[in-house]
């Protein structure tokens, strides 16, 4: 049966679900004008009621441990349990102001994680302070800005961003006080060198690239691009949200990138948590290290310490040192993969993507032919005669207990179905996905209305999103007041 209750709707006056020790202190008082005057409507439930409620709520979700989750650009790989266990160790639950002598373990993890990321990426030093990918982009672009300012080259305010880029890229540019300008792409989303050359001038702060790009294509002229941008006085920013395809194989730093961010919640397997917490470490080449946001964790001899007095840095972008709990998990994952396996992540994620691509290209329209990297994009069904859209396909997949691919991104592909299988999936899982995709394609041909009416097996059916936006009901009190 469909569980449709809100926690507020099972609440009952005077019920409790908590326990606290009896207070040992006398009651101190506050002037009454400082007190809130309207009681907050908070739940009153027993512990069992709370647990049962959220357990039933959880049943309405789809997680990686239920089934295949080929959500392009999101790298939904397996999130090992051991990372969770280790990050929960009480020894790591320290107050952020504990002196360095009492937090050497935590500081070592921070330091070592950034060091391993440096090795893997070919950039020299990382900060783990950014909270997510977009936050990393922001910090990275601030560094780009700071670099030019320090050189008194502050008319450089434009950042080149391809049209296929993730939405956070242009948005981060804006938030960092820069102006995003688009460069023409080739048909496969790679940078058009001629167009690039034309754009490069002394107003260009740099270029932001995802490589392989969001179409899954490696920028094969990257060395030339890097030279062009550098020669023009700009810097290269690498959106490494997803580092899977090249992990252990090739490094952004060696390609000429100066700044990058990595999403630990993608490549390094920290769970997405329904939309965070993430962690978006930013790495830079040596000549940019001074700009990294403070506080900075450093090592001297065998001791780790926190420096927060660096003058030339971009400033502070987080209250403390970032999402350390996420870093703990990533560090555990890095150690587990280890030297022996990093490159296999790259290889198998690419193998899996190409296998699906080749297996389905007779039913779905390949946006770009040829070898892809860890993900690729279909432009919907090949047979468009029945007007079955990418959205319809996605919804129909729900009925087969598969999480749909990313849809309608990247924007450059009209009916985009962006597929990223990740390396942790077996051939059997890929094969059953391929089967389901073929069945849906067949259904679209033979029974298009079936597909357009999907999903049927989910707890709720297609939703009316328009009404929700027209008349937003965004809290329980809005429901009460209806």
């Amino acid at each position: 049966m469909y569980y449709d209750k809100l926690i507020f709707e099972i609440s009952n006056k005077n019920r409790v679900g908590y326990s606290l020790p009896k207070s040992e202190f006398k009651n101190y008082t506050l002037p009454s004008e400082m007190l809130r005057n309207k009681e907050a409507l908070l739940p009153e439930v027993s512990e069992l009621e709370a647990v049962r409620h959220y357990t039933n709520v959880s049943f309405k979700n789809f997680g990686v441990e239920k089934g295949f989750y080929p959500l392009g650009s999101c790298t939904m790989k397996y999130n090992p349990k051991i990372n969770q266990d280790l990050s929960n160790m009480l020894e790591f639950n320290m107050h952020p102001y504990s002196p360095a002598e009492t937090t050497q373990g935590l500081l070592e993890i921070y330091y070592e994680t950034q060091r391993i990321l440096s090795e893997l990426s070919g950039l020299d030093t990382f900060t783990l302070n950014p909270y997510a990918g977009a936050h990393g982009e922001l910090a990275g672009l601030m560094i780009m800005g700071a670099y030019h300012m320090k050189r008194n080259d502050s008319k450089r305010t434009k950042v080149i961003v391809p049209d296929s880029a993730h939405g956070t890229n242009p948005a981060s540019a804006t938030v960092a006080g820069l102006t995003a300008v688009e460069v023409k792409s080739n048909y496969d989303g790679t940078v058009n060198i001629a167009a690039l050359k034309e754009m490069l001038n002394d107003e260009i702060a740099g270029i932001m690239l995802t490589n392989p790009n969001t179409l899954g294509i490696f920028e094969k002229d990257i060395l030339e691009i890097a030279k062009l941008v550098h020669d023009a006085g700009g810097l290269l920013y690498y959106d490494g949200a997803n580092l899977n395809p090249l992990l252990g194989l090739a490094r952004p730093g060696d390609m000429g990138f100066d700044i990058m961010h990595i999403n630990l919640h993608k490549t390094f397997s920290t769970p997405h948590g329904g939309g965070g917490p993430g962690s978006g470490p930013v790495g830079v080449k040596d000549y940019l290290v001074e700009f990294l946001p403070k506080p900075v964790i450093k090592k001297q001899g065998n001791k780790y310490y926190i420096e927060d007095t660096n003058e030339s840095c971009i400033g502070q972008i987080s209250h403390f040192y970032g999402n350390i709990g996420v870093v703990l998990k990533a560090y555990s994952y890095l150690l587990t993969l280890g030297k022996e396996n990093f490159h296999k992540v790259g290889q198998y994620s690419v193998l899996n993507a190409n296998y699906i691509k080749e297996s389905l290209k007779n039913d779905y329209l390949l946006a770009i032919d040829g070898i892809c990297k860890h993900e690729f994009v279909f432009d919907g069904l090949i047979d468009k005669s029945q007007n079955v859209t990418t959205l319809d396909v996605a919804k129909r997949l729900l009925d087969y207990d598969v999480h749909p691919p990313t849809v309608y991104f990247p924007l450059v592909v009209h009916e985009a179905l962006m597929i990223e299988p990740t390396e942790t999936e077996s051939k059997a899982t890929l094969d059953s996905f391929i089967d389901v995709m073929r069945i849906v394609a067949e259904e679209a041909r033979t029974n298009p209305e079936l597909v357009k009416g999907a999903p049927y097996n989910t707890v709720v059916k297609r939703l009316d999103e328009a009404t929700a936006a027209r008349n937003p009901i965004v809290k329980y009190r809005d429901l009460l007041n209806q």
Binding site: L223, G273, P277, H319, I324, L337, G338, K339, F409, T458
Partner: protein, 442 residues
């Protein structure tokens, strides 16, 4: 073979055949060879036993301390059920709820979270979370400057210096000018505010309880701001609204801050969760995700992400915020915390913290060499001045497994002898008495 990589050689062979290449290397042939094959100085693969070993060693390099400091990270009690719920794979391993039909779990808790934030702050609408209280405050500044189309903002000096640092960073790169309102007797000076406020400013950002733990009073702020059409942005540790006057009571435009004090472990500073709530008028300026109620095609109540046209994935360079992933699982954490603690428990936990801090304050002030700084009502941080050697104090306390107060010297060399203490409901009387007796013996 490796436990996270399922392919056997046989699998690989079959897949390569379908793809039509001879070996995996062929899948990387477009990559310039000079880029390939670096030898990496990285650790070798750890088995689970080796990993436990390593983490146990690392854990042993930390020293467990009983904290008597808050200053943005509070050692509150965490009900045991929370971890069990948030670690259910259904919640933990899901992505952002882009496919609402199979994400009603995430969407429902976001809706509950938004409802709770609105209840606590007395505001109309909350988003689904921000990174932390500091970045949320910086985003509130952007919201204000964008809405008011101004490039200046007023910020009170009584705000936590780390939050001020983040505001300054965000402001600097986006060419926003931050002007500061002086403090007076430990509070934001309303006189200075009146003096400085003008139509040039998008509004003012204040914090209460402020960095010193002092509960500020914003009566009159609304009126002052209405004259210049400025926005009132109030930052707070949200747990304090269990007892204290809310942004809604002050007719604030934006309520913002950190929700760590709702039972989230100190965790060396993160993950925490920034909250952000505003008025109906400003809903379309609110950054981040918002979940709303709708119906499915059969008329069932259901939840969706709504008003997405505000967000970066649609507006791109025109978006006012770049936030994408936020702190969703912590929104669930806070939601379960509030469900378990409930109306009574939240108040009890905060009242006990309030009382413990006041007991600590009273007892420390009885000692020679300690005196009050401001005579103002405070909540669960309190400021005490000492004539003793601050380093010696903290060294002695450390030796006894105690994390002592924060010396404001960290932010201002002239304030070396001002100590910021805090006690939560987890601190027992005997722990506080031990602290006091150690301080007394110095």
């Amino acid at each position: 073979m490796f436990k996270y990589l399922p392919h056997t050689t046989d699998d690989i062979q079959k897949m390569l055949e379908v793809i039509g290449v001879n070996n995996i290397e062929d899948l990387f042939s477009e990559i310039p060879t000079e880029l390939m094959g670096q030898d990496l100085n990285v650790p070798s693969s750890h088995s689970e036993l080796e990993l436990y070993q390593r983490f146990t060693e690392l854990g042993a390099k930390n020293k467990k301390l009983i904290p008597f400091v808050g200053a943005g990270s509070y050692d509150h009690y965490t009900p045991s059920v929370i971890r069990h719920i948030i670690e259910r794979q259904e919640f933990l391993t899901a992505y952002t709820p882009y496919q609402p039909e199979i994400s009603q779990g995430t969407l429902q808790y976001i809706f509950e979270y938004q409802s709770l934030i609105c209840e606590l702050t007395n505001m109309d609408v909350s988003n689904a979370s921000m990174y932390d209280g500091a970045t949320a405050t910086a985003e509130a500044m952007f919201m204000a400057t964008s809405n008011r189309k101004k490039d200046k903002i007023l910020v009170s000096k009584t705000i936590n210096p780390n939050i001020i640092e983040v505001i300054k960073t965000y402001a600097f790169y986006r060419n926003i000018t931050v002007d500061f309102i002086e403090e007076k007797d430990g509070e934001t000076s309303i006189e200075d505010f009146k003096a400085k406020n003008s139509k040039e400013y998008a509004g003012i950002i204040v914090q209460s309880p402020n960095f010193y733990g002092i509960i500020e009073n914003y009566d009159g702020y609304r009126e002052i701001l209405d004259e210049t059409k400025g926005l009132l942005i109030i930052n707070s540790d949200i747990s304090t609204y269990s007892l204290l006057k809310t942004p809604g009571d002050y007719q604030a435009d934006i309520a913002v801050g950190d929700a760590q004090a709702l039972g989230i472990p100190m965790g060396f500073g993160g993950p925490y969760i920034g909250y952000m709530a505003t008025t109906n008028k400003l809903i379309r300026k609110l950054p981040g995700r918002i979940c709303g109620v709708t119906k499915d095609s059969e008329g069932k109540r259901a939840f969706v992400l709504t008003l997405q046209a505000r967000e970066q994935h649609i507006r791109r360079e025109k978006a006012n915020s770049n936030i994408c992933s936020n702190q969703s699982l912590l929104a669930l954490f806070v939601t379960v915390y509030l469900a378990i603690m409930g109306k009574k428990g939240l108040i009890e936990a905060q009242t006990n913290s309030f009382n413990a801090t006041h007991y600590l304050y009273e007892e420390v002030l009885k000692l020679d060499g300690f005196k009050p700084v401001y005579d103002k009502p405070f909540f669960k941080d309190c400021l005490i001045e000492t004539t003793k050697d601050v380093e010696a104090i903290n060294r002695t306390l450390l030796e006894h497994g105690i994390l002592g107060p924060l010396s404001l010297g960290k932010f201002d060399v002239l304030k070396q002898n001002l100590l910021l203490f805090s006690a939560t409901e987890k601190r027992t009387k005997s722990q506080i008495d031990q602290l006091v007796s150690l301080l007394g013996a110095l």
